[in-house]
Symmetry: C2
Subunit: 266 residues, 2 copies
DNA sequence: TCCTTAATAGTCACCCTGACTATAAAAAGG
DNA sequence: CCTTTTTATAGTCAGGGTGACTATTAAGGA
């Protein structure tokens, strides 16, 4: 039923096999023609958002074997003339239902590439993983076919298909670390946001509570991290003093960094 | 002469084409069979070492077109049942001439994956880049065939083949950043080293001078960063008071980090 | 022995940070 | 309208890490 297809036999593509070995790539002793074995290349996306003070990740439910019915990270194959980042952006637009223009502006970060043989039981697949941070919460359209898609609290995103548990864990680690020394947190926020909302991002991703006055002092002291929005203030749902609105600044790196409390995450 | 081989036509590998689409991968509207187009996958290595207070990188000279005669990062194709990290470690052992056992212990870090179509004029190649940090300076054997290999000061590693200039720049950035918040710098040092040698690593990679007493205070205050070696002291070539020897500790992350002076690297 | 060189020890002020406390501003309830 | 509640914002204070320096120790060479 689902025997993994054999790798393409060598003689299927003579023109490719006759191509000179690539790159500086001093042919190692015992140069192996099988080195040209073709691989399938995919992208996998860990799309995060903050909702209800909980970190959510976008998952899709598989409609076919293997792992039928299991949840998985969205993703797909690279097209022949498409870079991995372009593929990731295309998939992101497709899965979230956001327009290409909107999706093109989202923060996308390449995480790592997963290449263990056997990570896909059917064939040799090398996957480039990306993390994406999106602000608001447009409930995703189901992708158009049988598979479902939806935001899942990170704590409930368990037992995913393939090696996606590990990819997701790596993605979470990376995002948490990047919040410390980059202005990335603003990517989780809408164009105009309050410092309370920004603090919520940190607290949600790190899973710790931060002191509000100290957080505000630190953020405002970092040049170009946030800039006041002309809009003024926003009432955060009703009661209380409305908070001033800010916009993301130009600071890519935070100096000094905004370190999370406690020790490392062992 | 060197026309890039055509991509494998679709009907060459029907078994592969009939395989169900992988992963969560809701088939996008207009699912494209060409998505299964095979890619070649390689690894490229940026192998760094510190020599004579200068950061050096291992380069190999290309013996064939394209880019014949140009310098390039070492690397090579993934074998059919080999992960990217295994391939990188194998290439590292081959290019440096180190034994597999030694090379297996070296620090290897996955950097990023480069997948622009056209990055290799001949065919579609996706390359997983790794950075490696090696301590001493075994002059590499030439790889066994026509191509030469050797350590090159980073400043002179210009106009490399393919997109290796960019890969090398990314690698340097990443290594510099990782020195700040990890104990990675010890990977550049031999098993036993002095604090002066460790400081030399930071100064060389960052290109800045550090205050020696402050550096020593910081390093020794960080738990598990370095531990005293039983050996005692080493005379650093002759004159002066011999320095105490240390070994790398177990600290993976530095808390708080050892931030480099000045602002970010714009 | 004196001088040079390099490692190590120690000092001091500043700034960042964590932990708090106090005030201001708006909405809800009586 | 006044009070209460809630949340944003301002201010205080002590401790610790850091940058900039100075002093001491320990070796080799003239």
């Amino acid at each position: 039923m689902n025997t993994p297809p054999e790798h393409v036999p060598r003689d299927h593509t003579p023109s490719q096999l006759n191509a000179p070995p690539r790159a500086g790539h001093v042919a190692p002793e015992g140069y192996d023609p099988g080195a040209f074995e073709p691989f399938a290349v995919t992208v996998d996306l860990a799309v995060f958002t903050v909702r209800d003070a909980l970190l959510h990740v976008l998952l899709v439910q598989r409609g076919e074997e293997p792992y039928r019915g299991r949840w998985a990270l969205p993703g797909g194959f690279l097209r022949p003339r498409e870079s991995a980042e372009a593929a990731a952006r295309r998939e992101l637009a497709e899965e979230t239902g956001l327009g290409g223009g909107t999706a093109g502006a989202l923060h996308l970060e390449q995480l790592a590439t997963y290449s263990d043989p056997g990570r896909d039981p059917r064939m040799r697949v090398v996957s480039v993983a990306y993390a994406a941070l999106v602000p608001d919460l447009p409930e995703p359209r189901g992708g158009g076919d049988a598979a479902r898609a939806g935001w899942t609290p990170l704590a409930q995103a368990r037992r995913l298909a393939f090696d996606h548990d590990r990819i997701l864990a790596d993605a979470h680690d990376r995002v948490g670390a990047k919040l410390e020394y980059t202005g990335l947190a603003t990517a989780f926020c809408p164009p105009e946001f309050t410092l309370g909302e920004l603090q919520q991002v940190y607290e949600t991703v790190w899973g710790v509570a931060l002191d509000r006055p100290n957080f505000r002092r630190k953020v405002l002291a970092t040049p170009e991290f946030v800039t006041p929005a002309r809009g003024g203030r926003r009432r955060t749902g009703g009661r209380g003093k409305p908070a001033v609105l800010y916009r993301a600044g130009d600071a890519a790196a935070l100096h000094p960094p905004l370190l999370r409390p406690e020790g490392p995450t062992p």
